[in-house]
Symmetry: C2
Subunit: 379 residues, 2 copies
């Protein structure tokens, strides 16, 4: 059964003011009448992904966060360190909606047959501003979920699944044959491990804690290296020799691990080299930083020769590279394996107002592996 | 007139011992009889390039250098810090000859017509072990110099000229239209500025000192940014907006400037962006580290979005990419402009023994811009 949407609904907004203050709040926004190829979704579930945190908090220091406003219209403010304001230039004084993806029920549809076909269906959608009670999107941004799938099950259909699949695709496109992944016990990391097992791709998982090691071994991981152990560099080198991995995806960004991975790849390459090369191994070693769990500087001790690269990796340009055919192929796999390979686990569920509760906010701001929030905008 | 080479000649050697000690010395090595397609060069001039320093000193801390041996057979020892020994694994206890390039007179030649044609000619050569009194190389490693060119004038025919040309070629191959260069007042930097002026390529030079700024402006540079000034970031951003440069070649490696260049490129890209992009500008920004004047860690404050890359850049794989036709084209340009665009300036000339003098050695180990040593093995 479908209901007519109300005239307006709440939406979470983030603004960085020229004064150096971040302000998060809920605003009442009108629900537009859908155009021919559009539908209005009553958003029932939307995850807080690491990729949402950047837009949500900007460069603000969340340890300075303060609450004001009322219980159902909370306001959070925090300070952006002055040296980081340069990076905020493009969004100053602009109130921005947040939330990459989510799922819910289509409650209104434009007149086109494609839109009408979605009326009443539970769909996943991507396209921003999903931390909203109602969201009007184009039909092509929707992925209809199989009958019986809940919005919570479909809330994370895009970002993590396509990123994990994108890593394996990138590996193939760039001529590598095995992968390294950091913060590997994350929801995304578990998906990647399952994909690699299915596809026969050797994967080296890097984690920080013994329980994360166990979790990954429990779903079939062969190589798990704990970076907190004193033997980490040797463990990683041995795993790299074993797998031949020369491509890593790093979720952390800050700290030393990017350089450590390259150094161990270099040691692994040299372990099989016939003679000394003055500029290091000629094997190209690549690390893509796709997340920023640690916003501190990346520190590279450059003891890995000259055949190396580091770069940013982002889902959208990757999808642009593989084109529509590739996207359809990956999306089909996500839908087919939604409750197995691509199942997400949430530790906390919050309303829109609950997402602005200081305790909740400081918890998800930490982006601890294993902790994942689901926003329920209609709660 | 050509002379028959003696049976042996001195050669500079570098060895990193398993004990953690670097030892530099001169050894007497036999001069081989040239094969059909080989010639023996009496090496008269060979530069100490930054690219030679890595093999020469390994990872040793040259502040610990000590002299022993005799005046004509000096020996220098220094300590390799233990944490850097891992990177030395491939060369342990192996005595290595040093010196990428040089020039001299062909004093013996194999029977092939190509080799015989070089007899008595002054040639430049590349191929390592040029810090030797006599060096036997293949004909194809030689570049015959125009009549009247001295060995000193031809000593630096390969590394710096081809690297500078390689930067401009790489820029074109990777779709950029302007360049940034650090430590830009170097011999190589001056060559690059001259090439860019000839080819109409906008170039942003980064230096540390006012006199380097003047030197570059004196040879026609438009954009010179001094990283010691408090206005550096703004100056660089303005130059990047003006030139549209999205590719930089960095000779330094360590420190913050690689990240600063990316941050200013990002600011320049955003200055012309129509709307805020949550992941930063979609313009790909690239820095290649081709040298290691500062061996301290590279520190990246990642405030430059997600569309970026950093990597090692090395002449040999680049030459492999452009193939024989490309190499011939670049070499011809070097020979044609050897005493103009590609002229090198040396501040010090030393014998092989003089290169192991502690004062000289500590001077060239500093790799100060403007200071350049030429080894004269036959002195």
């Amino acid at each position: 059964m479908t209901s007519t949407p109300p005239r307006s609904g709440l939406q979470l907004r983030s603004i960085v003011k020229r004064s150096g203050e971040l302000e998060l709040s809920l605003v009442d926004v009108p629900v537009p009448a859908p155009a021919a190829d559009e539908v209005v979704i009553r958003v029932e579930a939307s995850p807080i992904n690491p990729s949402d945190i950047g837009l949500l908090f900007g460069a603000a220091d969340m340890s300075t966060a303060k609450a004001s406003g009322s219980a159902d219209r909370p306001v959070v403010t925090a300070t952006v360190p002055e040296k980081l304001m340069r990076a905020m230039a493009g969004r100053l004084d602009e109130s921005m909606a947040v939330g990459n993806e989510g799922a819910g029920v289509v409650v209104a549809a434009g007149p086109s047959p494609a839109a009408q076909a979605l009326l009443g269906r539970t769909v996943a959608a991507i396209g921003g501003a999903m931390y909203s009670q109602y969201r009007c999107v184009k039909v092509e941004q929707c992925l209809p979920l199989p009958a019986g799938t809940t919005a919570a099950e479909g809330a994370s259909c895009f970002v993590n699944p396509l990123t994990a699949l994108g890593m394996v695709e990138t590996m193939r496109m760039e001529g590598h044959t095995a992968l390294v992944h950091t913060a590997a016990a994350s929801n995304l990391g578990q998906m990647l491990q399952k994909i690699c097992l299915e596809d026969g791709v050797p994967l080296v998982n890097i984690v920080r804690k013994p329980e994360q090691e166990e979790l990954l071994r429990g779903i079939g991981a062969t190589h798990v290296c704990n970076m907190s152990l004193p033997t980490f560099m040797d463990d990683l080198t041995a795993a790299l020799i074993d797998t031949g991995a020369t491509l890593a995806f790093d979720a952390i960004g800050g700290g030393k691990q990017v350089g450590q991975i390259l150094a161990c790849m270099e040691a692994a390459a040299n372990a099989s080299a016939a003679e000394y090369s003055r500029y290091g191994s000629t094997v190209h070693k690549q690390v893509y930083i796709y997340g920023g769990l640690d916003r501190s500087p990346t520190e590279l001790v450059r003891n890995f020769g000259m055949a190396w690269g580091i770069g940013g990796w982002l889902l959208t340009p990757f999808l642009g590279k593989i084109g529509l055919e590739g996207i359809v192929r990956l999306r089909s796999r996500v839908v087919a394996e939604l409750t197995t390979t691509f199942a997400s686990h949430y530790t906390d569920e919050v309303s829109l107002a609950g997402a602005l509760d200081l305790d909740a906010l400081k918890t998800y701001a930490r982006q601890a592996t294993g902790q994942k929030f689901l926003i329920r905008p209609t709660l």
